[in-house]
């Protein structure tokens, strides 16, 4: 039988372009970034990059702005992800049945997460405008106090979290809905006959069964929430002051505003370790509880 060179070597020829692309686009920059993190370095040739060992990391741990940005990052994640999980579960349970125009509703539910983040952030910042925004009008109509939203240091992170929750609750909901729809009817019927009420059915039967999907959704969302950039940069750019500056945003500013490449690289190394660490802890915790 005729067998060409490509066919005999397909298992490495086919993935070769992708491997080269991954090495060049992903692995290369990660190594370069590691190298930058132990250098005192700016853009361009001057000052000449010099090796400083772990100096950048030491500076980071002595930099109060590093700690406040790390704290903001966790604050945002801790508000947003649990809210998305709970609201997402509620939305999934609501949609888990047949109803009129189900297909249309499912397409509409997708919109917040596929809409361009810059457009999403823009429209929310118009809605949250303290003087003319429609959200303050709603608050006033309900006889509540007007809010400063993202322009107040205390509310900047919660306001960003609100946008994130709106954007990503549908994502959680659709993952959980997919899991709900794969459950067998027998188990539910058996629970009903045993006289379990709706809440007992939810906590004792449904949640344990869809747990793997919930874990995946929560881990993915946590990874992305820790790295949030677009909506923060468009709505507050980390402000007012540094009130909504997360580690990601601080690293961006260190590189492209303050031109401290080495320092920024060390922040990014720390951020990557935090993201991987948190994802690993969540994963272990999820397995351990089983």
């Amino acid at each position: 039988m005729r067998s060409s060179w490509i066919d005999r070597n397909l298992s490495w020829v086919f993935p070769l372009p992708a491997i080269l692309a991954v090495l060049l686009l992903i692995v290369g920059p990660v190594i370069a970034n590691l190298a930058f993190s132990v250098q005192n370095r700016s853009w361009g040739i001057f000052p000449v990059p010099s090796f400083v060992g772990l100096g950048n990391f030491v500076s980071a741990f002595e930099d109060s702005r590093f700690w406040s940005s790390a704290l903001n990052m966790f604050y945002l994640t801790i508000i947003a992800v649990p809210a998305e999980a709970i609201l997402g579960l509620a939305l999934a349970l609501l949609l888990n049945r047949d109803f009129f125009l189900k297909g249309v509703v499912r397409s509409l539910v997708l919109l917040p997460m596929i809409a361009t983040p810059v457009a999403v952030a823009l429209i929310w910042s118009l809605m949250m405008n303290p003087e003319l925004g429609v959200l303050n009008y709603f608050l006033q109509s309900l006889h509540l106090h007007r809010s400063l939203w993202a322009t107040s240091p205390a509310l900047a992170i919660p306001s960003i979290a609100l946008v994130d929750i709106w954007e990503w609750t549908p994502f959680m909901a659709l993952i959980m809905l997919a899991a709900l729809q794969s459950l067998s009817q027998d188990q539910m019927e058996a629970a009903k006959i045993d006289g379990a009420n709706a809440l007992q059915r939810l906590f004792r039967i449904i949640l344990p069964l869809i747990r793997p999907a919930v874990v995946v959704a929560v881990i993915l969302r946590t990874i992305d929430a820790l790295k949030t950039f677009d909506i923060i940069y468009v709505i507050t750019q980390g402000g007012p002051g540094t009130a909504s500056e997360t580690l990601n945003v601080y690293a961006f500013k260190s590189s492209f505003l303050y031109l401290r490449i080495g320092y920024s690289a060390s922040l990014l190394v720390i951020l990557a370790l935090v993201v991987v660490g948190v994802a690993a802890i969540l994963n272990i915790w999820a397995r351990g509880e089983k």
Binding site: R2, F14, A119
Partner: protein
Amino acid sequence: MKIGNELHNAWTSARKRTRVRRWTRNSFFYFVLVVVMIILLFPFIWMILTSLRTQVENTSAVPVWFFKPTMENYRSVLDQHHFLSYTLHSFIVAALATGIGLVIGLPAAYSISRYKQKRLAFAILSARVTPYITFLVPWFAAFRFLHMVDTYTALVSTFLIVSLPLIIWLMITFFDDVPVDLEEAARIDGAGEAEAFLKIVVPLSTPGIVASAILAFIFSWNQFLFALVLSGPHTQTVPVAVFNFITYGEINYGGLAAAAVLITLPVVLLSLFIQRWIVQGLTMGAVKG
């Protein structure tokens, strides 16, 4: 006879009661559904309303709900701000990042699916965990050194960091579903493995390829961070242009909203074709929708 009648009456009234109960439960469900959908869609509704109002209506202390729609905001965005050329830049970059991603990604995904190259698959997935700025800083240094900032090459190659892993991971799940028997049948007919891939597997996977192409296009279209740093006057994409309207321009509510509608519209239209695969794509195939 009498007992029969009473039984019959009891039965019909019981049936009526369940029907009434079901009706109340249903109308309660639809009420909740409508409220939830209004909350979920309100920002889009508000964006569209704002884009159709004049500046005076948009800056009134009490929101104007009923008004005569104006197209003035759209006209000014399209006329004054080179919006069409930004759209063209966005389109070129997104199309190239998608096309090159498919050419490189399809054979790789096929090989990973057939030869169970799990390690390679997970190496590709690591891009999902790493903060994107980690890739951006060295690439900016390199492109700056090569005088290539503000070129399509710079944008497309960094956009591939997002589109390539997405395409590969989605296509692995699609190729897993193509029965190996079909390829073996083709090989018995004298086709080589590469030929069987091109003539049998690719045509059979067209729906999956279309879905991953559309998703990769949407993600490239939405890309902000890489474009913010690496684009310039010759390649500025729409999200960056809109960001610049916000930070440098005067606050023209209608114009900003019109620009937001114009960026979002293509994405929304494309998403209608692939709504089944969006969750699968966003979870890198971890969850099938």
